[in-house]
């Protein structure tokens, strides 16, 4: 006997994501979800971004990692509240689900915030599949990873609202063509803004910070 089910998998996750989205809309809180492979520079980008934005916004951070609190220790030094999520000490979840974010937002406390940053687990595949109630998904790619990554992991680059191309200070040491990175990102997502920058030296950082400010202000003052 065949039983028709026709039910979306991850509908539970999507429902919680919608709850979060609704709650953040009411509270006028802007939330971004920063995703990339491990080692692309998410934490350094955030350290610099937070120090540039913290006088204009009340920021809180949620950091997802499989284990260790190294990222949250680094980000705590910026002076903003940080909640660390460890998905499992030995080989845990490869992404943050909406239920985990919901709990972390409670722990973070939203009353004094208007800007939440989520640093997702380093992974170019899985986090792309999970809505977590964010306003913008931002993908980071760094030059040493190679220009083929957008083509190999299209979903991540397709769902993102903006892309950061990090570590451009390394271009002179690598046998690469930086324009190819941008070309391949736009092949997947033609209208996406791409910010080519070096979080280490600060080159190109203004455009990214200005764009982010504009997005945040639009939501907060809505």
């Amino acid at each position: 006997m065949e039983i028709k089910v026709v039910k979306k998998v991850l509908s539970v996750n999507d429902a919680i994501s919608e709850e979060i989205r609704k709650s953040l809309k009411e509270k006028k809180i802007f939330m971004i979800n920063l995703m990339s492979s491990p080692g692309s520079g998410k934490t350094t980008i955030l350290e610099k971004t937070i120090s540039r934005l913290k006088k204009d916004f009340k920021i809180g951070v949620i950091v997802g990692d499989i284990c260790t609190t190294k990222d949250s220790e680094r980000l705590s030094k910026t002076g903003v509240p940080v909640v660390q999520i460890n998905t499992e000490p030995f080989g845990g979840d490869c992404h943050l689900g909406a239920n985990v974010i919901q709990g972390a937002l409670k722990e973070l406390g939203l009353k004094k915030l208007n800007f939440v940053i989520i640093e997702n687990v380093g992974n170019l595949v899985c986090p792309a599949e999970f809505e977590i109630g964010e306003d913008k998904k931002i993908v980071v790619l760094s030059l040493p990873e190679g220009d083929d990554k957008p083509l190999k992991y299209p979903l991540m680059f397709r769902v993102a609202s903006a892309a950061i191309l990090n570590k451009i200070d390394l271009a002179k040491h690598l046998d690469i063509d930086q324009a190819q990175f941008v070309k391949h990102i736009r092949q997947i997502n033609p209208q996406i803004p791409v910010f080519e920058l070096s979080a280490k030296t600060g080159t190109g950082f203004d455009a990214w910070v200005n764009w982010l400010k504009k997005q945040a202000k639009a939501k907060i003052s809505s």
Partner: protein, 133 residues
Amino acid sequence: MHEMAIAMDVLKIIKEALPPGPPVKIKKIRLKVGRLTAVVPESFKFCMEIITKDSPAEGAEVIIENVPLIVECEDCGAQSELNEALFVCPKCESVKLKIISGRDLFIESIEVEENETEEPVYGDQGRKKSSKR
């Protein structure tokens, strides 16, 4: 790697879809998975195998139907199937594309084992019980 999370979700949904009454055995699980999803069929099937142990779906065959990536051009209106990671309208080369299908991830149906001692019954559940020998 998140295939395990998805498999757990699938098991939960199919358990809820089972008819009330005595336990049944699930023989087949049919899913539709879009091209533009981050699901690896082999990993997913492996996770299903593990997660369904000691459940009504233990040993069930997992059948995955792939859903093509279809886009609609917002400029020329053409619908096209994309077979490579190049989001450009094959007809007019516009980049304004809306995804029509390919992000799908849903359970279509399950097949449960028939009780062999029963005759096939059409409609009336009451008769089925009274006709039991």
